[in-house]
């Protein structure tokens, strides 16, 4: 279909204009606990996996935010992808080769200059093994 001379697209009349469904009421009801898609226990479990300590206020906020975002993401289930292969990578990546030679000569002081704590030429951390 070509665009007409005055710049408006010729429409058949039955085309739908989709409306981005971001209005809070359209994709979730943040006031209802039955709409929660992620529980406080799950938030704490994920925080443990991600190694982030969360305050009580942060936990509460994330319970709401993640539930809302996951509610929106459920729209992906409208699509049947049973016969579709996943795309993990795009573009033009090859497998580059280079000569097996050292290009970055060891410089411990340069590498340690950003260490939060060091002892001599080592990173200093809390005791891990008793």
């Amino acid at each position: 279909m070509k665009e007409s001379e005055n710049g408006t697209v010729a429409r058949t009349g039955n085309e739908r204009r989709w409306k981005p469904d971001f209005a809070p009421a359209a994709c979730y009801d943040s006031g209802s606990m039955s709409q929660k898609r992620i529980s406080r226990e799950q938030v704490l479990h994920v925080a443990e996996l991600a190694r982030i300590e969360l305050t009580e206020a942060e936990q509460r906020q994330l319970e709401t935010d993640l539930s809302n975002i996951l509610g929106y993401i459920e729209k992906l289930n409208q699509l049947d992808t049973s016969a579709v292969e996943p795309t993990f990578q795009v573009g033009d990546p090859g497998t580059p080769w280079r000569d097996d030679v050292v290009t970055n000569h060891p410089d411990p002081d340069a590498m340690l200059q950003n260490a939060p704590a060091r002892e001599g030429r080592l990173f200093k951390v809390p005791k891990i093994i008793e």
Partner: protein, 484 residues
């Protein structure tokens, strides 16, 4: 005496530098003075490195006097604070990297140094490039030079605002879901996200590795071609970087668009979009027809699923990339009795709310029992989005769309609801998922005088065609400069 040399484009500055009419020191001084005059209001820069910039300018002047210097020699640039710069603090606008000084340069920084470019300083951004407004910076928001009450877009908002406010001649940014094109549109300048793998990401702090790309902000399309030529090309240190050599993109700028087929996706004119945006895009398409191009309606039917797929893929990749910030080797450390507590407390203190939200969402999407339902599902939808473009490019040479459904919003207007903020990227995100090149450039102004952005999307490695089309439009459209 104040000079208005900061208003120059790269092409104009290069012509005057190579004729010896001006020096890089004068040009650099003019930009530094401009920063001093306006940046307290705009807050585009996180750091300004005056002494180093002037030393680089003097080196450039010596090369210019010797003759035949590259086009970027002596040109003052702003650098998004996501690029590692040797000896220059690089924060990614995060508390966790507040005092990080990289011991090495990113490949693109090395290339710009080799070309003789001058670095004025590091520009503001959303923390770890996560955001659409630059309000997620740990060091305060950047303001839009066209209206200081409004956002410049994000995540590369500092770079975009710095170019729009004439604080630098051009700037460097990154784009994972629209982080170059959205701020370019909101600030009324040119920005290009190249094809995935076109530009090396070595030394660029990673957000979502299957989506991140590096690109320039400039005042003209010609300048974008000059910058891209300097940035693009093979890099053995980035295994995802394409082995194709980069062409001289300025050679593509013929001004000729006759018989070019421009696809117009019907899904990019959504209900609720700002009427002035649709009018400006339609007017730009009419200009292209007058120049001899043909416009054809196309369909990208999976457009409405792009944001949902993106926020699973990008956050999953981010949760893995940001695992490196553990308070041990560099970055913020909050001391604790054992190492797990040290990780937990350092990351809680160092990351802002949006970064935590995305790490949490991504960790959840990758966690046992949810991987197939969320992460794998999103990667399959990504295939559908990629195929939409492949089919569309059978009917057209490039695609033209609005860059955003509306012009710049007010600071604070969307911070309460993360989903509303994510909506800003609705027309840019698909391009990253498909790995395509996208150019944003000004094509009009709304009733408040805020810039409207045209987006030109090319097939893989089709940078030349979108630059050619953008340059042809620029010859018939005069952009405005903000009053500051």
């Amino acid at each position: 005496m104040t000079s208005d040399l900061y208003k120059l484009t790269i092409a104009e500055a290069h012509a005057r530098l190579s004729r010896g009419e001006i020096s890089s020191r004068e040009l650099t001084r003019a930009c530094l003075d401009r920063i001093a005059a306006v940046d307290s209001r705009v807050h585009a820069f996180l750091s300004v490195i005056e002494d180093q910039a002037l030393a680089q300018a003097d080196d450039a002047d010596a090369r210019l006097r010797a003759g035949s210097a590259p086009t970027l020699c002596g040109i003052p640039l702003g650098i998004k604070d996501i690029f590692c710069t040797r000896g220059i603090r690089t924060t990614c606008a995060s508390r966790i990297l507040e005092n990080f000084v990289p011991p090495f340069d990113a490949t693109v920084i090395e290339r710009l140094r080799a070309a003789g470019a001058v670095f004025l300083g590091k520009t503001n951004m959303d923390e770890f490039a996560m955001g659409s407004s630059t309000e997620n910076s740990a060091f305060g928001p950047t303001r839009n030079p066209f209206d200081l009450e409004r956002v410049p877009g994000g995540s590369s908002g500092g770079s975009a605002a710095a170019v729009a406010a004439d604080e630098c001649i051009a700037a460097l940014g990154t784009d994972t879901g629209g982080s170059i094109r959205l701020p370019a549109a909101f600030c009324g300048i040119v920005g290009i996200k190249p094809t995935y793998s076109r530009v090396s990401r070595y030394g660029v702090i990673a957000y979502a590795s299957s989506l991140d790309q590096v690109g320039p902000f400039t005042k003209t399309v010609r300048d974008a071609a000059v910058m891209l030529h300097a940035l693009a090309g093979v890099d053995p240190r980035d295994s995802t970087c394409s082995a194709r050599s980069a062409p001289d993109y300025t050679k593509a700028l013929t001004g000729e668009v006759k018989n070019l087929r421009i696809g117009v996706p019907r899904e990019y004119f959504v209900e609720g979009m700002q009427p002035e945006v649709e009018r400006a895009i339609r007017a730009a398409l009419a200009s292209y027809r007058e120049l001899g191009a043909e416009t054809v309606e196309i369909s990208l039917p999976h457009t409405e699923y792009a944001i949902a797929a993106y926020y699973l893929i990008a956050t999953a990749e981010a949760s893995a990339n940001l695992a490196r910030y553990d308070g041990v080797r560099y970055g913020l450390r909050v001391d604790a009795a054992d190492h797990i507590e040290l990780y937990n407390r350092s990351r809680d203190a160092g990351f802002g709310a949006e970064v935590k939200r995305r790490i949490m969402l991504g960790t959840f999407a990758l966690s046992a029992g949810y991987y197939d339902a969320y992460y794998l599902k999103a990667q399959k939808v990504r295939t559908l989005i990629r195929r939409d473009f492949e089919q569309a490019f059978e009917h057209c040479d490039l695609i033209a769309t609005p860059t955003t459904p509306a012009t710049a919003f007010k600071i604070g207007e969307r911070t309460a609801d993360p989903l509303q903020m994510y909506l800003s990227d609705i027309f840019t995100i698909s391009v990253n998922l498909a790995g395509l090149p996208g150019l944003a450039m000004p094509c009009g102004y709304d009733d408040r005088g805020l810039p409207i952005g045209l987006q030109l999307i090319g097939p893989p490695f089709g940078e030349e065609i979108i630059l050619r089309a953008g340059d042809a439009f620029e010859r018939v459209f005069t952009p405005r400069r903000p009053e500051l």
